[in-house]
């Protein structure tokens, strides 16, 4: 145990995901030794992210205003909505350059073990978006694992009566993996070969 401020910093860093006690200590001493302006910039970035970033009121992607950049973009079409679990999945799919429609970020996947059911996800909001009738295709791009597949099936059953085209990304994605870790080529091909559910 260290005294005062340095231990406080180690404790705070240690609460971050993926940061163990050893890493927390290393980062803390790195900060201590770093140039004060660098540290100020880091602190300001931390503040700004909480002050400025919110969730898009339409698609629940991260945004710096009412709506995210993608929802505001008039060059994108409204005929397809691609459903993903997390904002990082939007970034992954954007990198493929394959998709010019809109997104919907669920905020997770159905996961009874962790107490996550449909009511804990932005599913009601998705249904509201679909009811406008403008959307022709719903692309289910949840993770290719047990929970992601269950979420996709749930949504497919739910929207079936609405009569729109429902597609799922083709497999070829590593099973059990996170969408965000798939490389662009793989993910792009999966997008290309998406199938009707």
């Amino acid at each position: 145990m260290y005294e005062g401020a340095i231990q406080d910093l180690i404790d705070e860093l240690g609460r971050l995901p993926g940061v163990g006690p050893k890493s927390a200590q290393r980062i803390a001493f790195h900060v201590l030794a770093a140039d004060p302006t660098d540290v100020k910039r880091l602190a300001a970035a931390l503040h700004r992210v909480k002050d400025l970033v919110r969730f898009c009121t339409t698609c629940f992607n991260v945004a710096e205003s009412e709506q995210c950049r993608i929802c505001r973009d008039p060059r994108r079409h409204d005929e397809a909505i691609c459903v993903v679990e997390e904002p990082k999945d939007v970034v992954a799919i954007e990198k493929t350059g394959e998709f010019r429609g809109r997104y919907h970020v669920l905020g997770g996947a159905i996961n009874p073990l962790e107490g996550v059911g449909p009511d804990n996800l932005k599913i009601r909001e998705l249904m509201a978006r679909l009811s406008s009738g403008e959307v022709k295709e719903l692309i289910l791009a949840t993770d290719p694992n047990t929970e992601g597949e269950a979420t996709a099936t749930y949504l497919a059953l739910l929207v079936k009566p609405m009569g729109l085209r429902v597609t799922r990304l083709a497999s070829g994605l590593p099973v059990g993996g996170d969408l965000e870790y798939a490389d662009e080529v793989t993910l792009g091909r999966a997008f290309e070969g998406r199938r009707v559910l």
């Binding site: 009511d119 269950a150 099936t153 059953l157 099973v175 059990g176």
Partner: protein
């Protein structure tokens, strides 16, 4: 394939030992408690990343030592591969394969294929269905590695479905009503889909295994009755194709739903199945003598070995403390059955128990050391 060299550091009773092997039979002789099983347990650990005797790693590390190291050179189709495992209780194991610095331990699976029969395997016959399901599933994965994914997918779906049923059950108990089962249809569909794949694979495996079990039992048992294995499911059906079994399982889930919701647990699916073992028409469990049960367990392991061999995978065969249990005639028949193995390793307390057919390399095992005789 065969093991050419095994080196242990602080594994079980061995501070350090090196054993050089040859293809063909190898016999390890030594009195009780000198460390014969410890040697083959180390080989088993490299092959499966688990011990056939204990479920935690701590007992594998020599008392007083921090970590154990198992190094082994395996020759497969003329090429030698080095495999190394470092076992440190409470930490993730470290593995090396060939010249690469480190890999994930599961990457070494398949480098050494081994079928081991040990006295503990009596539980295959006398123990709970879980052990027999594991026997089938391990063999499925040994034949076709992709079944590791089929198995874990099914287990994950089952866990999620059980969590859903359980949460709803507890909500009802606390609040008297309610509980969100809105996703149960989805989990039913996925359970039927993954469960039917596992079910179909086990049915196919059982059919492939059956003639080998019969033949092996014939050789090692005193010759009464025909050994038969039959896959048993609560949802009996004559279907065998995954698509048809999926319908059967979906139907069973539909019909059993009130009961499952009532009890808060999944009752239909391959996680409740069993492999029935029969001598003639008589179930082995509960009816057969100790000798018959033991022979049946041995026959199952020998059948697994023969099946893999028939399909072009030539595993190393290990028979731990087997020959002392057999009379002279059965010893000879077992020796004939396994004598042609690329490598068969045998342990025994009395040299004379092992038939001449298996007279290959001899090793004298004494406390903490192994001497090539």
């Amino acid at each position: 394939m065969y093991v050419r060299r095994l080196e242990l550091v602080d594994f079980r009773s061995y501070p350090r030992v090196v054993v050089e092997f040859e293809p063909g039979p190898g016999v390890f002789v030594g009195s009780n408690g000198v460390g014969k099983t410890n040697l083959v347990e180390a080989l088993g650990y490299v092959a499966t990343l688990s011990s056939h005797r204990v479920s935690t790693d701590a007992p594998l590390v020599r008392i007083g030592a921090q970590r154990a190291v198992v190094r082994c050179a395996v020759v497969h189709e003329g090429r030698e591969l080095l495999v190394e495992l470092q076992i440190e209780p409470g930490k993730a194991n470290k593995a090396r394969l060939g010249r690469a610095p480190t890999t994930r331990p599961r990457d070494i699976l398949g480098a050494l294929r081994l079928v081991l029969f040990a006295p503990e395997d009596l539980s295959l016959v006398r123990g709970e269905p879980e052990g027999r399901r594991r026997f089938l599933d391990d063999l499925l994965v040994a034949r076709q590695p992709r079944f590791a994914a089929v198995r874990s997918d099914y287990e994950r779906v089952l866990k999620q479905r059980n969590a859903l049923l359980r949460t709803a059950y507890l909500t009802r108990r606390v609040k008297g009503s309610g509980g969100d089962l809105s996703t149960l249809d989805v989990w039913d569909a996925h359970l039927a889909e993954h469960g039917s794949r596992l079910w179909a694979a086990r049915l196919e495996l059982t059919a492939a295994l059956a003639p080998h079990v019969e033949r092996a039992y014939d050789a090692v048992a005193a010759g009464k009755g025909t050994a038969r294995v039959r896959y048993h499911s609560r949802n009996e059906t004559t279907e065998t194709a995954p698509q048809e079994l999926e319908k059967v399982l979906a139907e069973a889930l539909k019909n059993g739903r009130p009961q499952e919701v009532e009890r808060g647990v999944t009752l239909a699916g391959p996680h409740r199945d069993d492999l029935s073992l029969l001598l003639g028409e008589m179930p082995v469990k509960g009816y057969a003598s100790h000798g018959e049960s033991w022979s049946f367990a041995l026959a199952m392991k020998l059948a697994a070995y023969e099946l893999l061999r028939a399909e072009g995978i030539e595993p190393v065969l290990v028979l731990d403390d087997v020959f002392a249990e057999l009379d002279a005639g059965r010893r000879e028949r077992l020796a004939d059955l396994v004598g042609g193995a690329e490598q068969v390793l045998v342990t025994c307390a009395v040299d004379a128990d092992v038939p001449a057919r298996l007279r290959g390399a001899r090793y004298a095992v004494r406390e903490g050391e192994v001497e090539h005789g």
